[in-house]
């Protein structure tokens, strides 16, 4: 099978408009004859559900939480990028496009990224019209800030809760459609299988998480908006429930997985405090606008930070990257922190932390101004650590935060399975090997509001307008598979809990497929993960039964999938003999320790095809071409 990205012809800036015109349309009165299933109700899912229902399609949404409003998009703090150029500082669609391609270390599709930059301006309009309370200036117009490695102010924000406000906006639009009956919302439901009929995605098998009942839901198309799979690392900034099950099930049914090893490690998280820890908390990247990152110049310096004089502090980001300083992209900031700690300059009890200091900002702007800007973040830090960041510097350490990889999709956001779409973080498409700050919200909403509603019509227009049956043999078979699998998990009755396996998997992934990767480490990791998976299926202990609310059973299914997905990530990392963005292979670095890309051999999207249980997956390559942005080594010096 050859990969067809379906990128339209023509000049870059006209591709999307031309494509929209060429897409087939569904007659308004026929739209109600098509059913669309949307799994996941975060920014991408909720916005897609609302927009498709507004067009007239019948939509069914599924989320494992008790309400669509709780999807983890809600936790995004910093902001959303848009090429509005409201600040007159030279921003443009082209510059946003350029920054995103460069920030992604030249591993994203130019055409997709350009479309993203184009629709970014519509997103802000849409959200404001929905009543999203963005930050404003005294003149009444929208405020912007500069964010994560951008040299223009193009980030729109709502205090430190931008994700929340955008999600609630999308949720409100979706609610409106639930009210009209166009969207049917299934909460506390988890998709456990994709159903294929005659080679097309025709529905899902879902478990009602309250009663434990298995349900068959059919549709003309299925859209996965289930977010990233970063929880394979156990300790992450993801929500505890975030999982890769939906996309992994789809992958096993034929959807290729794109760039699985591309993981984003966020530089400013609160460090781990003990082995009881269940998650890591992110401190918004905006803190780097005013905070200065440093470590002591002396190794294993045990003094309190206040006692370390200025000349004995190493503001290493400012030293190594004088022009971007503390605002270098996330992958670079994270790696630098790890590098410092690896060399023995780390601080805190675990020595796995660096300082983020606001002393100078407080001196320059006054405590009040700092409080107004970051008050809620400082409070959060204090709650978690019990320390006051106004008087002593914060301690931060990188943590897994986002996965750039995901289901491979073409320009229409369709996976390699006809009728199966992936939007938002669940797909691989727009961020290349590293995502820029404030771009995740942009992509989720772009896909849901402005891309999928056009492209899905092109597929549905050629589909038969009769309902898809949900009791065909394919559905029955899929349902049986799901039930068997649940029973299998319950019947092992071993000794170790699913949390223990998850934690073990996380440590393994972090060690072998984390911030620094090597061929030997990855090979070893692959063997370890295989062994762990085997043990899991023999020694797992899941309490309770299937026909009840059983949180351990839910989690067991997710961890079982992570155990397979993790292996694929390592294979992908091992295959990619270069360093780029969030993927850092220690063998491939410049003399200064920067990521060394190999554009000649690896300028492609690695799309993996599932070949069966315990079979090596087959690699397909989608070559990336850069007509507009020239491949250069990223430099933030």
């Amino acid at each position: 099978m050859t990969l067809d990205s379906k990128i339209p012809a023509g000049p870059l800036s006209e591709k999307w408009d031309r494509h929209k015109f060429n897409l087939k349309l569904v007659n308004p009165s026929n739209k109600r004859r098509y059913d669309v299933i949307i799994v996941g109700t975060g920014l991408a899912g909720a916005s897609a559900a609302a927009s498709l229902a507004e067009l007239g399609y019948n939509v069914k949404t599924f989320c494992f939480q008790d309400s669509p409003r709780r999807a983890h998009s809600i936790a995004a703090q910093g902001g959303i990028n848009a090429a509005k150029n409201y600040r007159n500082d030279g921003d443009s669609v082209y510059r946003l496009f350029y920054d995103t391609v460069k920030g992604g270390d030249y591993r994203a599709r130019e055409a997709n990224v350009h479309r993203l930059a184009q629709v970014s301006v519509n997103i802000i309009d849409q959200c404001v019209a929905q009543g999203v309370p963005f930050a404003r200036e005294y003149g009444g117009l929208l405020d912007n800030r500069s964010f994560g490695g951008a040299q223009v102010s193009r980030t729109f924000y709502a205090r430190g809760q931008t994700g929340q406000q955008l999600l609630l906006g999308a949720y409100s639009a979706m609610n409106r459609q639930i009210g009209t009956g166009m969207v049917k919302s299934f909460t506390r439901h988890e998709m456990l299988e994709l159903v294929m009929v005659d080679g097309q995605a025709r529905g899902i098998i879902a478990r009602d998480l309250v009663t434990g009942e298995i349900e068959r839901h059919s549709a003309h198309a299925v859209v996965l908006c289930t977010g990233g799979y970063g929880n394979v690392f156990y300790l992450t900034t993801y929500a505890r429930g975030s999982n890769g099950t939906a996309i992994w099930r789809a992958h096993k049914k034929g959807a290729f997985f794109g760039n699985p090893c591309f993981t984003q490690i966020h530089p400013t998280c609160i460090p781990v405090s003990g082995d009881h820890q269940s998650k890591l908390t992110l401190m918004s990247e905006s803190l780097r606008n005013d905070g200065r990152i440093w470590v002591p110049k002396k190794k294993d310096d045990a003094r309190r930070p206040a006692d370390i004089p200025e000349e004995e502090r190493d503001y290493y980001l400012e030293r190594i990257y004088p022009s971007f300083g503390n605002l270098v992209p996330r992958d670079i900031a994270s790696r630098a922190a790890k590098g410092m700690c690896d060399k023995g300059f780390g601080v805190g009890t675990t020595k796995l932390a660096v300082y983020l200091d606001f002393k100078d900002a407080i001196q320059r702007l006054g405590q009040k101004a700092v409080e107004a800007k970051y008050g809620n973040l400082f409070d959060m830090y204090k709650q978690i650590t019990g320390e006051d960041p106004y008087s002593s510097p914060m301690m931060i350490y990188p943590a897994v935060h986002y996965t750039m990889g995901g289901l491979w999709v073409d320009y229409n956001l369709m996976t390699t399975v006809p009728g199966l779409y992936a939007c938002g973080e669940a797909n691989f498409s727009d961020h290349g090997a590293n995502r820029l700050g404030a771009s995740a919200l942009m992509q989720g909403l772009a896909d849901g509001y402005f891309v999928l509603p056009y492209t899905i019509g092109d597929y549905l227009a050629s589909e038969e307008r009769k309902p898809v049956s949900n009791d065909s043999p394919e559905f029955m078979e899929a349902e049986k598979q799901v039930k068997d699998r649940l029973n299998k998990l319950l019947s092992i009755k071993g000794k170790k809990t699913v949390h223990e396996y998850h934690r073990e998997l996380g440590l393994l992934m972090w060690e072998h497929c984390g911030m620094g990767r090597t061929a030997t480490g990855l090979t070893e990791g692959i063997n370890k993960i295989k062994a762990l998976r085997e043990e899991f299926w023999q020694n797992l202990l899941v309490p309770g039964v299937d026909l009840e609310l059983n949180q351990n059973l839910e989690k067991a299914g997710r961890v079982a999938d992570f155990l397979e997905l993790g292996e694929l990530m390592m294979h992908d990392a091992l295959n990619r003999n270069e360093s780029c963005g969030g993927h850092f292979r220690e063998e491939y670095q410049t003399p200064e320790g920067e990521a060394l890309r190999d554009d000649e051999n690896y300028c492609y999207v690695a799309a993996w095809e599932y070949k069966g249980e315990n079979q090596m997956e087959e690699l397909h390559k989608e070559q990336l071409t850069f007509d507009e942005v020239h491949l250069t080594q990223r430099s933030y010096k």
Binding site: A50, S51, Q65, D66, S67, P68, R69, R70, H72, I74, A75, K84, N122, D125, Q126, C127, V128, A129, Q130, V132, P133, F134, A135, R136, G139, G140, L141, L142, A158, Q164, Q165, S172, N175, R176, I178, G179, S185, T187, V210, A239, R240, G241, S273, G274, D275, H276, Q277, S278, T281, Q383, G386, Y449, P453, T497, E500, L541, P543, L549, Q551, N552
Partner: protein, 252 residues
């Protein structure tokens, strides 16, 4: 494990919606003061599983105080003794070793218990579906800066919009009223120009959904504001009262 606190927990156990439910007492041992309350529950649950017992079911997701999923009534307070935090942000350093902690689900007829500490908050969604939106379709929006909005109004709208829908207001209210929750959404839109066209219809429809769900009436005890992890103000309820009356007699 990693700490030296020992805690006695008196936890509500209920198999499902139709079960009568009862309190059970458990010991959580070797608890670190740095653990969050939910991490302490994790530790206890792991022990229960190993002992062949059914672990305590509780809602949780983001564990950073924003998703609104966690919902425990701890020692007679929604989200526990600290102000301005959700259960997941409550740390064990707020308790002493040897303490007995009573943990209950939210109590309201509109929030039936599904299992143990998990309640069904679908009534909140229904209130939002009844009118918690601005009725515009995707793609029809004018330029974002075409309507300037006074900074203080935008800020106040944000303060109301910061609601995470956790239900602590209902849990804390002696009447299980959802007025604070509802008024936060009503206020957000009432303060913004985008919310004006549907202002009256919205408040009428949302109020109707509130009544149908079986929430109580507001007695202005202001317990909701005191327990709200996001500090939503009861001023919003006053605004809702005003808007509701105006809409009742002048609306469509």
């Amino acid at each position: 494990m990693s700490g030296n606190m020992n805690i006695t927990l008196k936890v509500w156990r209920q198999k499902n919606k139709s079960d009568a439910g009862r309190f059970e007492t458990y010991q959580a041992k070797h608890i670190s003061p740095d653990m969050s309350f939910l991490e302490m529950m994790d530790v206890m649950n792991e022990q229960l599983i190993k002992d062949g017992k059914d672990p305590v079911a509780f809602d949780h997701d983001c564990r950073e105080g924003i998703c609104g999923m966690c919902s425990m009534y701890i020692n007679g307070r929604a989200h526990g003794p600290n102000k301005g935090v959700t259960t997941c942000q409550l740390h064990m350093r707020s308790f002493k070793s040897g303490d007995t902690i009573v943990v209950e689900p939210w109590r309201a007829s509109a929030f039936p218990v599904l299992k143990d500490l998990i309640v069904d908050r679908a009534a909140f969604d229904r209130i939002q579906q009844a009118g918690g939106f601005v009725g515009i379709n995707t793609g029809s929006a004018p330029d974002a800066n075409s309507i300037p909005i006074q900074k203080h109004l935008a800020e106040e709208a944000f303060n109301a919009a910061a609601c995470i829908g956790c239900g602590a207001c209902v849990a804390a209210c002696k009447n299980s009223s959802a007025m604070l929750f509802m008024s936060a959404k009503v206020s957000q839109y009432a303060l913004l120009p985008q919310g004006q066209p549907e202002r009256k219809l919205r408040v009428l429809n949302m109020m109707k959904a509130h009544e149908e769900a079986g929430f109580g009436a507001c007695t202005n005890t202001e317990a909701c504001e005191a327990e709200c992890p996001k500090g939503i103000s009861v001023t919003n309820i006053a605004r809702l009262n005003r808007d509701f009356v105006a809409a009742s007699f002048t609306g469509e």
